[in-house]
């Protein structure tokens, strides 16, 4: 079975301080530190493209010597902000920049915060069907391309980053069964509109996240035959400290649910793999992951090792 063998990520070094912007948005310190939970957001350089962030993450992965580029037979990039104008697909650009083999299956997945979890399902299924052995699932969605820096709803939330997950037939983490949610009638709650900028109805996103995500997590645990009390860690999409805390409190699992994004922000589909790489203990044997947002969608699954 295909599962997760390794995860690497890239966070650009540049940061924009939210604390320094509190007067601009008339916000209290504790709103930034305790509610958003994000004191700074990571920013790519203006000249960096989405594929460049992926390449940086891949270089970290390849530096560990667990994989050579010529062994890769699948490349998928989860992004809603592809290189250039979106054609060709960013996976093709990443494939070329990394000089990966000619026989690679390459495609993009156009999802937001549920994209990593959904991508695990899609890429693992494709690899198993085609008997591929080593695939790279990238996430890179630099929302700095679409965020209005004067919009108090979004300007302090989103950070730029990329991750790459090595999926292989010699996994460290087994991937369990998935639960998916696609809400109807809420597609405008998080959307890029005619002005080319991201617009967010924060209340709609909060209501959806606080209700649909705990339900999805409960279904996922049941699908995988495990009780919530038996799960070592819950790695949720790092939307904000408040929403992660709200979901965890509703499930009664707050002590096992990390918030890791304080110094780099909500990195959309990269938030879960980055948190998996940084906030899961070596002793953790089971981790439930749940991505939620744009769509509005939820995707959840259980990882075991």
């Amino acid at each position: 079975m295909i599962g997760i063998t390794d995860i690497a990520y890239h966070l650009p070094g540049k940061r924009i301080s939210n604390i320094a912007r509190k007067q601009e948005f008339a916000l209290a310190d504790n709103f930034i530190t305790e509610k958003l939970g994000i004191t700074a957001v990571a920013r790519k350089n203006d000249e960096q493209e989405t594929s460049d962030l992926c390449v940086e993450a891949a270089r970290t992965l390849f530096s560990r010597a667990t994989l050579r580029p010529d062994e890769v037979d699948c490349v998928a990039v989860v992004t809603q902000n592809p290189d250039g104008h979106g054609l060709p697909h960013t996976a093709a650009v990443v494939h070329a920049k990394l000089e990966l083999p000619r026989h690679c299956l390459t495609f993009d997945i156009g999802l937001g915060c549920s994209g990593y979890v959904t991508g695990l399902s899609v890429v693992a299924a494709s690899m198993e069907r085609e008997h591929l052995r080593r695939g790279l699932l990238f996430t890179a969605d630099p929302y700095s391309k679409i965020v209005d820096p004067t919009d108090r709803n979004t300007a302090l939330l989103f950070g730029d980053a990329a991750s790459v997950t090595l999926l292989s037939d010699a996994p460290v983490w087994q991937i369990g069964r998935f639960d998916f949610v696609a809400a109807t009638g809420q597609r405008d709650a998080l959307s890029v509109q005619a002005d080319g900028l991201l617009h967010m109805n924060g209340r709609a996103v909060f209501d959806f996240s606080a209700t649909a995500v705990p339900a999805s997590i409960r279904r996922t645990a049941e699908l995988n035959g495990i009780a919530l009390a038996e799960i070592d860690r819950f790695v949720l999409h790092q939307g904000s400290r408040y929403i992660v805390g709200t979901i965890a409190t509703r499930l009664g699992v707050r002590d096992r649910t990390p918030f890791d994004a304080a110094n780099y922000g909500n990195t959309v589909s990269s938030s879960i793999p980055i948190a998996l790489a940084r906030a899961v203990a070596a002793s953790d044997r089971s981790v439930l992951i749940s991505g939620f947002g744009v769509g509005l969608n939820v995707a959840s699954t259980l990882l075991r090792r």
Partner: protein, 79 residues
């Protein structure tokens, strides 16, 4: 229908840092230290526990304890 006591309980749970029992009924939440995320949590609890749904276009009418109670009374069949 939600009572004032029930509403104050919801506020106390959503915003544990303030004394909900002493919150003036007619002062806007925003002026009482209740931020937009707290407000969203209060509205969600009203919906889940009392069936009171406040559409976005009516939010200006439910920005205080008195406003919510008046709105709930108007929409008695919902709440």
């Amino acid at each position: 229908m939600v009572s004032e006591a029930q509403l104050r309980t919801i506020i106390a749970e959503a915003v544990p840092t303030i004394d909900a029992a002493k919150l003036p009924a007619d002062v806007a939440f925003a002026d009482s230290g209740i931020d937009s995320l707290d407000y969203a949590a209060i509205l969600l609890a009203l919906q889940e526990r009392h069936g009171l749904v406040v559409p976005d276009e009516d939010l200006s009418r439910t920005a205080s304890i008195a406003g919510i109670l008046a709105y709930a009374a108007e929409h008695r069949s919902d709440a």
